[in-house]
Symmetry: C2
Subunit: 363 residues, 2 copies
């Protein structure tokens, strides 16, 4: 039996259904078989629009400090953003990504079953740069005789581009190893670099050249990682027409945001899609869906994205055995298809899905 290891996990439910899915994430961690030798201690942390309305601050310092000083990992639910600018409010998840230097946002998308539109299995990961691009949020507005004009900075650095392409290469190599272990020869390891360097030769050109340079590393070549590129508009077009072709897609922040939502639509529901915000020394799992105010409080939100985010967090904490147990239990729940939440066409409650997955954990 493995030596026991205790991990400290921050729980940040945020707003809306975040308050329903994050407890589900905690339950699955507590239900992991004891043979894995893992223990978890939890700390509840605040952030979100509700927090902002109560305290005037969307991301309290205590949350950031506790994550930095105490936590190995964390789970973040969702936040409700007001569409109109609200004085003093800005998205706490965007701020958290920057404050903790969570430089990679990793979003695997996997189809449940073949469909008429997509007979071949979809199994891809978008690896999104998570700290810069238009998300530096440097904007200004000035007046002209024709009325106001606003400008924002899109910033792309060699450093962040190299770092994100490197982790994309590592993910592609790891996925290839896993497929090889399963005797799955359906796909070659591949990273597709996306950009719009035909319009933005300096910024996106830098992302492109830094990515290609990083991915040319000998260890990626040894792992057989092929490197391709797609202009972002063609990428979206091809993603919709032949998603099964893709393996790992690396993108600057904004394109990554758009690609991962589009890929989620191809597998029918954001309720299935997990993400991990990866930094040095900390990983924050985060379901890709939003706070879904329309269904919040009804106990019918889909916990799958969060359960998979827990697994993804464990993956990046190098706890692959624990991670694969959760993935397998979730896949078995979906394949069985009897306990599904309404977004998947079923009638199950959040808790019933969680209990079904937990039952399958020890299996």
């Amino acid at each position: 039996m493995a030596a026991s290891r205790t991990l400290r996990i921050g729980l940040i439910p945020g707003d809306g259904i975040g308050r329903e899915v994050i407890p589900a994430g905690r339950r699955i961690l507590e239900a992991l078989p004891s043979s894995l030798g893992l223990k978890f201690s939890f700390v509840d942390l605040e952030a979100g629009f509700d927090t902002f309305k109560q305290t005037g601050v969307a991301l309290p310092d205590r949350t950031v400090e506790t994550l930095k000083k105490e936590c190995d990992g964390a789970l973040f639910g969702a936040v409700s953003s007001p569409v109109t600018a609200t004085k003093g409010y800005s998205s706490p998840i965007v701020a958290l990504r920057k404050k903790l230097d969570l430089y990679a946002n990793v979003r695997p998308v996997k189809s449940v079953a073949p469909s008429a539109a997509y007979p071949d299995p979809i199994d891809l990961v978008t690896v999104r740069e998570n700290t810069e691009d238009l998300y530096v949020k440097e904007e200004r507005t000035y007046d002209t005789p024709d009325g106001p004009v606003a400008e924002a900075i899109k910033r792309i650095s060699h450093k962040a581009s190299t770092r994100i392409a490197t982790i994309a290469g590592e993910i592609a190599a790891r996925r290839a190893r896993v497929r090889q272990g399963l005797g799955d020869t359906s796909k070659q390891a591949m990273v597709t670099v996306t950009h719009k360097s035909n319009v933005l030769p300096q910024t996106d050109g830098l992302f492109r050249s830094a990515s290609f340079a990083a991915l040319a590393a000998q260890r990626f070549q040894d792992a057989g990682v092929k490197v391709e590129e797609q202009i972002i508009d063609s990428m979206l077009y091809k993603l919709v027409l032949q998603p099964a072709y893709y393996d790992v897609i690396v993108a600057p922040n904004l394109y990554g945001d758009l690609l991962s939502d589009t890929a989620a639509a191809l597998v029918s529901s954001l309720g299935l899609v997990p993400s991990a915000n990866v930094g040095d020394g900390i990983v924050i799992g985060e379901p890709c869906h939003g706070s879904a105010p329309d269904i919040a409080g009804k106990g019918i939100s889909n916990p799958i994205a969060t359960l998979r985010s827990v697994a993804l967090m464990l993956d990046f904490l190098d706890l692959e055995e624990a991670a694969s147990k959760i993935y397998a239990a979730v896949d078995a729940n979906l394949a069985d298809g009897k306990l599904l939440t309404p977004d998947m066409g079923g009638k199950a409650k959040t808790d019933e899905v969680v209990e079904d997955v937990i039952r399958r954990l020890s299996g």
Copy 2:
């Protein structure tokens, strides 16, 4: 019989299959029934990567000046952009849009037939702002101890946002009138405003507020035009999941680029999707596809996007009767399904499709 009117049309084939589809556009104009009282004179104009390689200039002054001084409309084929920055080269279509102030890029997307994934007909238009956003192409690069950093400006003005939202409102009102004329009650007139104002409150916030203000005009209310909004990532998600819901989508330049390619994928081929670059006093029709070097010269490129771009150009020149004849002939060709190019699963040559559409013109 209507009084005869002569229109001067610039023909800019550009690169690759642009050289095959633009002649098809000319042929359809020449084949319009004489009862419409329309005459066309043509002027051949150069632009593109081939032009750049031959002359060192991608968009010759003569092309711009002739369009400005002589032409009512024009047809633009496609350009091959090198992916890597090429000294002195930048996309002539982006430059043309700015030099002629072609402020709106209008891209209607329509499904040919119900599919398993999309049983309801898709019939939407993206109205893309065409002169600013990241397409101002103002970039700079500087060195830091961590290597180079590049920045680009995203510029959004009240003026351009108001102008694009206004034309979107007009298009929605016109579409509603056409549907009403056909007794089609399937859809209410609607404009969906897309942006990312949760991350970019100043730039995208300005696009949002200027759009809502413009669309609140009494004439749009009288025409029953409903106004909604979607954050761009959710927009792409919803577009893939329920495209039949949407009518007119208005977007800043870059999001519009991405939305129109994604929408094209939903109807299976960019080879079907036309566009019009609309300015004051000139309209340039342009198929949405690229120069397709892989099939260039084989005579098998799909002319439908260009034929529809001709119709769209005529629409914006207020020649709706001529436009609707071309739309109907193209729809009849597609509905018949016997003469289709390879991208549509058929075996027809470009010329055979053009001849089939021309045969149906007088029908």
